[in-house]
C-alpha cells in the first residue's frame, strides 16, 4: 500500500512536470503575450514596454523563463500577478474557500440526489418514475448551465425576490444564514447537471449488479428486500462511483467557471476567467497547476478508497 502510494506520487510529480511544460508552452503560443496588458496603458511607448519586459525577465528565451517559473513553483513561490502584484498562491487561496463551499455543497446535493434517483430508477426499471428521470436527465444535460442560472436569477431574485442574485455574502451581514442564502441558487444550478450525470451512472451501475448471480443467491437465502438492495446490490454498484467522483470533483474546481460567473461567485473559476481576460500569465499558470494537482490527488484518493472497499483490488 505504502509502495503504491509512493509509486503513484512519483508518477503524479512527473505528470505535473509535463503539465507545466505543456501549459506554459500553449499559453505563450496564444496571441497577445504577457505584455499586452501593459500595452493598453495610455501613453505607453515601445521603449517603456521594452523596459518593463527587461525588468520582469520577459525578454529572456522561453525555456529560461519556464525554468525560473518552475523552480519557483517547487519552492512555493508561484510568482506575482501582473494586475496587482500580489503573490499568486495567496490569490488562489483567497478564492479557494468560495469554490470549495460551492463545489462541496453542490456535490453533496448531486451525489445524494443522483444516487437516490439512480437506485430508484434501476429498481423500478421502465416505471413512470424511471421514464421521468431519464427524460429529466436528458433535459438537464442538454440545456446550458448559464441559461439555468439566468432563469433561476430571473425567477427567484427578480420576480419572487426570495434569493440574492449573486455574490457570496451581503456586505455588512456575513452571517452563516446570509452565506447560506447566497449559496442556494449557485449550488443548485451547479448540482443540476451533476445530478443528471450521477443518476445515469448510478442507474446503469445498479443494473449491472442487479442481474448478477450473487444477487440471486442473496434472494435465495431469504434475505429481506432492503438487505439485498443495500448490502448486496448497492454496495457493489457504488464501487465504480468512487472512481467517477475522484475524476469529477477536482475538475469542478475550475469547471464551476460558468456558474461562478453567472452568480458573480468569487471562486477559482472566475479568477481563471478574469486572469485570462487580463493576460495575467502567472495567475493563469498558477490556477492550471493548482487544478492539475487536485485532479491527480483526487484520482489517487479514489484509487485508495476503491481498494479499501473492494477486496479484489490490490494496490501494487
Amino acid at each position: 500500500m505504502l509502495r503504491f502510494i509512493l509509486h503513484r506520487f512519483g508518477h503524479s510529480l512527473l505528470l505535473l512536470f509535463l503539465v507545466s511544460i505543456l501549459g506554459f508552452t500553449i499559453l505563450h503560443l496564444a496571441p497577445g503575450g504577457p505584455l499586452s496588458q501593459f500595452a493598453l496603458s495610455p501613453g505607453m511607448t515601445q521603449a517603456e514596454l521594452h523596459k518593463i519586459a527587461e525588468r520582469m525577465g520577459l525578454n529572456r528565451p522561453l525555456p529560461v523563463q519556464w525554468f525560473d517559473w518552475f523552480t519557483g513553483l517547487v519552492i512555493g513561490d508561484w510568482g506575482h500577478s501582473f494586475r496587482d502584484g500580489r503573490a499568486v498562491l495567496d490569490i488562489i487561496m483567497g478564492h479557494l474557500f468560495a469554490t470549495l463551499l460551492l463545489v462541496i455543497s453542490s456535490t453533496i446535493l448531486s451525489v445524494g440526489l443522483g444516487t437516490l434517483v439512480g437506485v430508484l430508477g434501476a429498481t423500478r426499471r421502465y416505471s413512470a418514475f424511471d421514464y421521468l428521470a431519464t427524460v429529466g436527465a436528458m433535459i438537464a444535460l442538454s440545456i446550458p448551465t448559464f441559461w439555468f442560472g439566468l432563469v433561476a436569477i430571473y425567477v427567484f431574485s427578480l420576480k419572487l425576490g426570495w434569493l440574492p442574485s449573486g455574490n457570496m455574502y451581503s456586505i455588512g451581514d456575513e452571517s452563516v444564514l446570509d452565506y447560506a442564502r447566497h449559496l442556494i441558487m449557485p449550488s443548485c444550478v451547479l448540482a443540476l447537471v451533476q445530478v443528471a450525470i450521477w443518476s445515469r451512472y448510478m442507474r446503469s451501475s445498479m443494473l449491472d449488479v442487479i442481474d448478477q448471480d450473487f444477487v440471486r443467491t442473496a434472494r435465495a437465502k431469504g434475505l429481506a428486500r432492503s438487505r439485498v438492495l443495500y448490502a448486496h446490490i448497492l454496495r457493489n454498484a457504488l464501487i465504480p462511483m468512487i472512481t467517477l467522483l475522484g475524476i469529477q470533483l477536482p475538475t469542478l474546481l475550475s469547471g464551476a467557471l460558468v456558474t461562478e460567473t453567472v452568480f458573480t461567485w468569487p471562486g477559482i473559476g472566475r479568477l481563471f476567467l478574469d486572469s485570462l481576460g487580463y493576460n495575467d500569465y502567472p495567475v493563469i499558470m498558477g490556477v492550471l497547476m493548482f487544478t492539475a494537482i487536485f485532479v491527480l490527488l483526487g484520482n489517487l484518493i479514489a484509487d485508495i478508497l476503491v481498494a479499501s472497499v473492494d477486496p479484489r483490488v490490490r494496490l501494487e
Binding site: 448471480d213 443467491t217 431469504g222
Partner: protein, 335 residues
C-alpha cells in the same frame, strides 16, 4: 417415506412482447425426505425455470405467470404459489435452500464468506453474531474445508471454484432445510472436483435426511445421485421413473438420444471418436410443434400419429411414465 413437496400441474409463462409464452407445462412430481429427484434435460427444457418457480425467484407478475400448485408439507401444508412475498422469504433459505451452477459468481465479491454464511443464519434465526459465527465454522468444517476458523475471513476470490461451491453448500445447509435444490451444481467444475462435490452432497443428505431436487443435463451425474428421474423436453415431462428404470430401459426416444449423446470412454458398437447427437434444436416455446414436441427431431416419427395432439403421459408400469405415442412399438422392436 414422507413427502415434503408436491408439485401439481405446474405451468410457468413469461410475458414477451405482450404475449405470454409458456415455458413449463403441466409438471407434476413429489419430493420425498432423504430422496433425490433428478430433473434432466437440455438447455431450454424448463428445468431451471421450474426450480426458480419453487423458490419464488421468478420475475414478479405480470412479467411471469404461474399456474398449478406447489405444496410445501409440514405442520400444515402451504401452497407456495399463493404465499405472499413475506411468507415466501421465510421459506427461502430456511425450508428450501438452493445452490447454483456458477460458484465463481454466486458469492458476493465484497463480503467475506463468513459474513455471507452468518447473514443467512441471522436473517432467519434470533442468534448472536458470536453464536452464528460458531455455527458458520461448524458448517465450513462440515463441507470439508480445512482450517475453518481462518476461512471465515476469506473473500470469495481467494478460494477455488470447488471451495466456493462448498461455501455455497454451507450457506444452503446453514438452516437445515427440508429441501435442497441443486441447479447444475457441478457443471462448471473440474471432473475430479465434481465427484467430490457429489460425494459431499450425498453424505450431507444421508446425515440430514433432506430431500434433493437435482437439476442436470449429465446422465453420469444422474446415475450417481438420483433415486428418481424426470426427463424434460420443451417444458414438459417426457419420461419419469426410478433412475434404474429410466436409465436401464428408456422408453422415450428423446431420453435414449440424450443418453447416447453422453461421451463414454468405450461405447460398444460405435467407432472411436464418433458421438451420437440429436439433430435439430430445442423448439421455440412460443412456437411449439403440434402433437409431440419432439417429433420433428425424432427418428421414429410417424406422420399422422406423432404430430396429432394430444400426447398424454402414459404409465408403462411400475410408476414408469412416458410421453410417446409409439413407446410400445419401440419397446418391442428393441426387445
Amino acid at each position: 417415506m414422507t413427502t415434503v413437496l408436491t408439485v401439481e400441474d405446474l405451468s410457468i409463462g413469461f410475458r414477451s412482447e405482450g404475449k405470454v409464452v409458456t415455458v413449463v407445462r403441466g409438471v407434476n412430481f413429489k419430493l420425498e425426505a432423504g430422496q433425490t429427484l433428478a430433473l434432466v434435460g437440455e438447455s431450454g427444457s424448463g428445468k431451471s425455470v421450474t426450480s426458480l418457480g419453487i423458490m419464488g425467484l421468478l420475475p414478479p407478475p405480470p412479467q411471469s405467470r404461474t399456474d398449478g400448485r406447489i405444496i410445501l408439507h409440514g405442520d400444515q401444508d402451504t401452497d407456495l404459489l399463493t404465499l405472499p412475498e413475506a411468507g415466501m422469504r421465510r421459506v427461502r433459505g430456511d425450508r428450501i435452500a438452493m445452490i447454483f451452477q456458477e460458484p465463481l459468481t454466486s458469492l458476493n465479491p465484497v463480503h467475506t464468506v463468513g459474513a455471507q454464511i452468518v447473514e443467512a443464519i441471522r436473517s432467519h434465526r434470533r442468534m448472536t453474531r458470536k453464536a452464528a459465527r460458531a455455527r458458520a465454522i461448524d458448517l465450513i468444517e462440515q463441507v470439508g474445508i480445512p482450517d475453518a476458523a481462518a476461512r471465515l475471513g476469506s473473500y470469495p476470490h481467494e478460494l477455488s471454484g470447488g471451495m466456493r461451491q462448498r461455501i455455497m453448500i454451507a450457506i444452503a445447509l446453514a438452516l437445515e432445510p427440508d429441501i435442497l435444490i441443486a441447479d447444475e451444481p457441478t457443471t462448471a467444475l473440474d471432473v475430479t472436483v465434481q465427484a467430490q462435490i457429489i460425494d459431499l452432497l450425498r453424505r450431507l443428505q444421508a446425515d440430514t435426511g433432506m430431500a434433493m431436487l437435482f437439476i442436470t443435463h449429465d446422465f453420469g451425474v444422474v446415475a450417481d445421485v438420483a433415486d428418481r428421474t424426470i426427463v424434460m423436453y420443451a417444458g414438459e415431462m417426457v419420461e419419469e421413473g426410478s433412475t434404474d428404470t429410466v436409465l436401464g430401459r428408456p422408453l422415450m426416444p428423446y431420453t435414449r438420444g440424450l443418453m447416447s449423446a453422453v461421451p463414454k470412454l468405450q461405447t460398444a458398437g460405435l467407432k472411436q471418436g464418433e458421438l451420437q447427437t440429436i439433430d435439430g434444436f430445442v423448439p421455440d416455446p412460443a412456437n411449439l410443434p403440434t402433437g409431440c414436441s419432439f417429433h420433428p427431431r425424432c427418428r421414429h416419427m410417424r406422420e399422422g400419429l406423432c404430430d396429432v395432439p394430444p400426447v398424454p403421459l402414459e404409465d408403462a408400469g411400475d410408476r414408469h411414465m412416458v410421453r410417446c405415442k409409439r413407446w410400445q412399438d419401440l419397446a418391442e422392436a428393441s426387445g
